[in-house]
Symmetry: C2
Subunit: 383 residues, 2 copies
């Protein structure tokens, strides 16, 4: 041993350096992989969720998230929910929510866990957040986002907004609108067969997170999944989101069938053709669309629910029964809510006509003809 001291020292040094390097690499890898490690003190920095919106669906999801984070070690207990302030019988809605733990206006009868905190100022609501949940009418995005773009660099977003925008050249995803407004923030989406009141009552249902970045999809899944609200995930934002938007058009066709008192066979055929046209539309305008997406909750299951239970179906049934114009029916049946399917239907037709491909979408075309061009409702079956 005395014969070779230098090589030994050298080996020991190499080994020490290697270990140090490995430790550093591991540290860096962990930090960059999860965004959770704070180097100050080596403590994990917890995820903090902010919900932007507090209507019926926003409140239902606040109940789920609020309860879930209490059981998750790496999520901060407090969930801030931005509430557009309103006066309810002389009291502020935020105060009612924070004392009674219930959104008495939009989700009466359902209690939040106490860690859900209503905040009237959206900038305050997203303070310290790492995960933003967008669940407000998409018309409000352009005035809300500029107040919170300061959080863009550190946050990831999840959009629960079902709808779609259109330019003359094609459809624009709401998730892409949010991404643009939020300076390139990564945006996942949540779509599925989720009637808000049923979710809030803990009835069993499923939903789908469509993500681009796998780690983000997994973080949102952990935030949402629970025994009664089962969340799947798929790497296909556009496919997931388009399912959520176009189902409302198909539901108009389903409603026409109901108004004509056609049987279950006919409605099943409309649902099937509608899902196939949705798939074709998605593939025509976006890349990376996966066939499997349409078999997830966001596709098949949401479409079935909407075609049997949704508000677009209900109004289209009334239209088929000649109970009034769309505006009259909307005012009569929806208690202030908006009919999304008719708007989407018109927009979809503009895009298809501009591209000269409307004949490849016989169901969407026929629904539009019946809804807006005076075609007899009976022609819904002439496909």
């Amino acid at each position: 041993p005395a014969l070779a001291p230098r090589p030994r020292r050298s080996l020991a040094l190499t080994a020490a350096l290697t270990m140090l390097c490995r430790a550093l690499l591991l540290l860096v890898a962990s930090a960059s992989a999860t965004n959770l490690l704070s180097l100050r003190g080596g403590q994990k920095e917890k995820e903090k969720v902010a919900i932007i919106g507090s209507g019926n669906w926003g409140s239902a999801i606040a109940k789920i998230i609020g309860r879930n984070v209490l059981a998750l070690d790496n999520y901060d207990d407090e969930v801030c929910m931005w509430v557009f302030e309103e006066d309810i019988n002389g009291k502020k809605l935020t105060e009612i929510i924070n004392t009674e733990h219930e959104n008495v206006k939009y989700l009466p009868g359902i209690k939040f866990t106490e860690n859900v905190k209503a905040v009237p100022d959206v900038t305050d609501a997203v303070k310290d957040a790492t995960m933003l949940v967008f669940v407000l009418p998409h018309q409000f995005l352009t005035r809300t986002c500029p107040k919170i773009t300061g959080y863009a660099s550190g946050c990831r977003a999840l959009s629960l907004i079902k709808g779609i925008e259109f330019s003359e050249t094609g459809p624009i995803l709401i998730s892409d609108m949010i991404k643009d407004e939020m300076k390139g923030m990564d945006v996942s989406v949540l779509m599925g067969a989720n009637v808000a009141n049923e979710v809030a009552r803990d009835e069993f249902c499923e939903s789908t997170v469509g993500y681009k970045v796998k780690a983000h999809g997994e973080a949102f899944q952990a935030m949402l999944d629970c025994p009664t609200f089962r969340v799947g995930q798929i790497q296909d934002v556009a496919g997931t989101e388009l399912c959520g938007a176009l189902k409302n058009v198909v539901a108009l066709g389903a409603g026409f069938c109901d108004g004509l008192e056609l049987g279950g066979n006919t409605k099943a055929a409309i649902i099937r053709i509608g899902l196939k046209e949705t798939m074709k539309f998605a593939k025509m305008f976006f890349k990376g669309i996966k066939d499997e997406t349409f078999m997830e909750s966001c596709g098949l299951a949401d479409l079935v629910t909407t075609c049997f239970g949704g508000r677009n179906r209900k109004c289209a049934e009334a239209f088929a029964r000649k109970e009034g114009t769309w505006d009259e029916i909307e005012a009569d049946k929806l208690n202030g809510q908006k009919l999304q399917g008719t708007i989407t239907c018109k927009d979809v037709m503009v895009v298809l006509k501009n591209k000269g491909v409307e004949d490849q979408f016989p169901l969407f075309k026929r629904i539009n003809e019946i809804a807006f061009e005076g075609a007899p409702v009976e022609t819904i079956i002439e496909l």
Copy 2:
């Protein structure tokens, strides 16, 4: 020209021989491709359809086929329908059908075209037929087929029978049972969202022919397709047939949801998971299964119809409401018809357990536990 007479004659001879060969090849190709050309007199031999069975579904399809063949040049006008003879108020059922053109027992109120001929002897019914439509309870196959195997070499078959048989090693398709009984006859299948009475009333619906031989699929499509009964086709007999069989198991789960008064979200989730397990089951036991099959009418559409309207759903709802045993409920609700879903459910579980894969099918397993092993109905959502 006079300098080279031989090559010219040779060329002319070659040309003539070539033409002759081409004509012969064309003749042979046409004949073998369509089976329609009779070389005697060069006249087309017409297709002749025989329907084996005359219950509710058999009668509905007889109405469609009878009307269709009248408009098709290459189909014989006469459609024979084998009717199991019964006495109806002192008259023979076949006589009533042949004079009143109505199956007063199994499809009252619906008139056949006059070319549909009821025949009490199955051997007489299939005489001269080129296309056999099997639409009888599959329990009758082993006693009926031996009487008509003499027609096996020249005929092709279509099975409308929804069900499945099981050996200890795995599932046996009804179409394969027919094929075996009929000495290797090629058998296609027709499955879809087709409630017999709605089809008979000409309500719009779709169906799917699953075929092995493309020309046969096309011939059956031509025989069946009409503006209200739209027939698609796909080269996947097993996938198409399994959709028709397993939907009844899923419908039990849907009925449990209804009995528990769960919402539309829950039922949509059951339908979606059910379709995925059907797909997985098909791929596990049969080759050549196509994903697209499950998006055809036989898959998605039939499952939706069955889970909202079928008899398995109805009886499972009653079971969930604790209205009796399966036998009591069947006797009470089905007016003599049989509950297919419970039988299929048990058989499916035997096969899955034998293969040791039951845990890969949580929905099928849970439905079986609730239906036959005393598990609380409420556990239907614990998947």
